[in-house]
């Protein structure tokens, strides 16, 4: 404990801020991928699989084309294809979305493993100097400013884009006609149908966009956060994204806050381990936070729901 107090300035320094955001970004993309379908009342448990396929596609296309941008685009298309498979199964044939999602996750794991072997003749992982990474944004004028320079310089392009995407989705959900329709479909499909909204069409659109975001999440993981593909490199980040989405009630801003909480617990853990806190405890922290955060948000949701109900009754 003393060691922690002595090294307080080394644990809580400026770099912790960026470290938090850095480890949260992949989860933010995953959470947004799950949030848009949740608004249409579809639980996209396949986020993990979509991300993994996206990560693989991004590395493959970047390697062969020499362009990180093409890599991202291809990853988004691949994500969309996977999500469309899920959408057809769920919307057209009415099968259980959780079952399809888990199927997709397992398929993604197996097929990427197979393709790494088939395309690159390598087992388990693939890395090469020819994989073009997503560039980092270096703002020259920030270099001379001490704290701001350390905080905001050399962010990955997709990390900046994550912030834009959060704001854009917030606007899309709550300030546009399409967003209103999306939420109507999610909350009360019969009413939406009566109002002349084509429910299934809106659901397909939500799944499509979700796939695009999920693919981008994967591309960020394999070309931005790191420059390689490794079997199962998502390592449950997709599921943590889904948990954060629940925490934020599918509201992009609150969801992102949940992700930052995960990122923070992860980064602080990485720093605390160095000073004798048992690794087992530190590695448990993100999951404890997940359970705690979900419980709190569910309790809040229940009590809000009860209030609304009683208001209805008193109205009668």
């Amino acid at each position: 404990m003393n060691a922690i107090l002595e090294n307080f300035d080394k644990i809580f320094n400026v770099s912790l801020v960026y470290a938090t955001f850095r480890s949260a970004t992949p989860i933010i993309f995953a959470a947004l991928c799950a949030a848009i379908t949740q608004q249409a009342n579809i639980l996209n448990i396949g986020t993990e699989g979509i991300m993994l396929v996206g990560a693989f596609t991004a590395v493959t296309v970047s390697y062969f084309s020499g362009s990180w941008f093409l890599g991202i685009v291809a990853a988004m298309i691949a994500g969309a294809i996977i999500s469309m498979i899920m959408a057809v199964g769920h919307i057209r044939y009415n099968s259980e979305i959780c079952a399809i999602g888990m199927g997709i996750n397992m398929l993604a794991l197996a097929i990427t493993k197979f393709l790494v072997k088939a395309i690159f003749n390598s087992t388990g992982s693939f890395s090469s100097p020819d994989i073009k990474a997503i560039p980092r944004v270096n703002l020259a004028f920030l270099d001379s400013i001490p704290v701001l320079g350390e905080l905001f310089n050399d962010w990955c392009v997709t990390e900046w884009f994550a912030i834009i995407l959060i704001i854009f989705l917030q606007f899309l959900f709550y300030k546009t006609v399409w967003g209103l329709r999306l939420r109507a479909v999610g909350q009360f499909p019969e009413a939406a149908k009566t109002a002349g909204i084509r429910v299934n069409s809106v659901k397909y659109q939500a799944m499509l966009i979700s796939g695009l975001i999920g693919g981008l999440a994967g591309a960020h993981l394999s070309l931005g956060y790191s420059t390689q593909f490794i079997e199962n490199m998502t390592n449950n980040r997709g599921f943590m994204g889904v948990a954060a989405m629940y925490f934020g009630g599918a509201n992009p801003v609150f969801t992102a806050l949940g992700c930052l909480l995960f990122g923070f617990s992860d980064s602080i853990g990485a720093r605390l381990q160095a000073y004798g806190i048992p690794s087992q405890f530190v590695l448990m922290m993100p999951y404890i936070v997940t359970v705690a955060v979900l419980s709190i948000s569910m309790v809040a949701k229940l009590s809000a729901g009860r209030k609304r109900e009683s208001a209805l009754h008193s109205g009668n």
Binding site: N7, K10, I11, N13, S15, L16, A19, R22, S23, P26, G89, Y93, S95, G103, M106, L107, A110, I111, K113, F114, V116, K117, A118, F120, N121, S122, T123, G124, S125, F126, S127, L221, Y225, S226, T227, Q228, I230, E231, N232, M233, N235, D266, S267, A270, R271, Q273, A274, Y275, S279, Q280, L283
Partner: protein, 376 residues
């Protein structure tokens, strides 16, 4: 009707995905691994010629290696696989490799291998030891081998390493390196780092040596330690390593199999330094890996297969490969020498060679973590 067709299609897709899993470990052996770094081209190969000394004449000896992690880690598992592949070439054995990332998979793979009736089953790491202890007695006719730890059963041969001795040298090298403030991005603070995969006793044996070696050079040095909790999460490894750099470390030792790929990548990204492990990783991120603590897992794997081929397999025996026997060593620093040119601190190499001689002669006794060492 449509629903039924869909379910048939989905079943077919599932079958395809399963064969996809299977065939990835049964790909043909013709293709060469590209560039040499992507080790483990094929995982199942039956040699054409049968070794004369084989116990059963006729069929080749069947060997199964159960990994606790994946191949492609460019570290521990790949090293083990290299030894096994060499045995395929030299003795014409039949080889099967089973990979797995979770404890349930490891146990299932081991039991599956036992049921398949292989002649020799090699547990590639200490993670598998408990399962061999549990299931080994049920298959008395199968020969087992375990690398990196000891299992005390009559049909199990154990091979472990003096990783503490190799790590002592790595720790000394790191402690000397962090004093070279004229090298780019080496700061004033005397802090070095260490990132491990799973928190298991073998890694503590590494750390014990690393700490002793670093403190031998500089008693005031501070060592940051972290575990990723996984052998297969390089992103976690990268995050932990970046955190240690941000806390003032200049050089971080990687002891993390597949997770370590991220450790070395962090060294490159932060423009700092790392020490590789198991295989020679100096060239993985040239100019950022000072040296590697090479652990000859390939030799261990090869030797145990050879002993079965020659009929000299000794169940219940323990081998302990030390620095003096070439079981562990540092690389020759050549990649770093080239990268730094005139700036390269030659005294690190000289000191390490000196220390190695002292360890071999017994002048320096490197401590072991509890339960490790020649007697264990």
């Amino acid at each position: 009707m449509k629903k039924r067709m869909l379910s048939v299609v989905l079943m077919a897709a599932l079958c395809v995905s399963m064969t996809a899993c299977g065939s990835s470990s049964e790909a043909p052996a013709e293709t060469e691994a590209a560039g040499g770094d992507a080790a483990g081209g094929e995982t199942e190969a039956a040699g054409g010629e049968q070794a004369a000394e084989g116990e059963q004449s006729g069929d080749p000896i069947r060997v199964c290696v159960v990994y606790t992690g994946n191949l492609g880690d460019k570290s521990y598992n790949d090293s083990c696989n290299m030894g096994a592949e060499k045995a395929v070439e030299d003795f014409g054995i039949e080889l099967k490799s089973l990979e797995g990332t979770t404890a349930e998979e490891w146990e299932a793979n081991l039991v599956a291998a036992c049921e398949e009736g292989y002649d020799l089953i090699i547990g590639a790491s200490s993670n598998i030891a408990d399962y061999i202890t549990e299931h080994g007695p049920n298959y008395p006719d199968i020969k087992f081998a375990v690398i990196d730890t000891t299992v005390d059963l009559p049909n199990v041969e154990s091979i472990s390493f003096a990783q503490n001795e190799g790590s002592f040298l790595a720790g000394a090298a790191a402690a000397l390196f962090t004093q070279k403030t004229d090298i780019k991005n080496v700061n004033e603070e005397k802090i070095i780092g260490w990132v491990g995969g799973m928190d298991i006793p073998v890694l503590h044996d590494f750390y014990t040596g690393y700490e002793q070696g670093a403190k031998y050079i500089d008693p005031d040095i501070q060592i940051l330690q972290a575990f990723a909790g996984s052998w297969t999460d390089p992103l976690k490894g990268k995050e932990l390593t970046l955190a240690q750099y941000e806390q003032g470390a200049d050089i971080v030792m990687n002891v993390a199999s597949g997770t370590g790929v991220g450790i070395l990548e962090a060294a490159k990204e932060a423009d700092k330094y790392a020490i590789g492990v198991d295989l020679n990783q100096d060239g993985d991120q040239p100019g950022h890996v000072l040296t590697s603590m090479v652990k000859r897992v390939d030799n261990a794997c090869y030797l145990v297969i050879e002993s079965v081929v020659n009929g000299t397999f000794e169940g219940g025996s323990t081998k302990y490969l030390t620095l003096a026997e070439g079981g562990v060593s540092l690389t020759d620093f050549s990649v770093m020498k080239e990268a730094l040119g005139d700036q390269f601190p030659q005294d690190i190499v000289d000191t390490c060679n000196e220390l190695a001689e002292k360890i071999k002669s017994g002048e320096i006794v490197v401590e072991n973590y509890e339960g490790f060492g020649p007697q264990a």
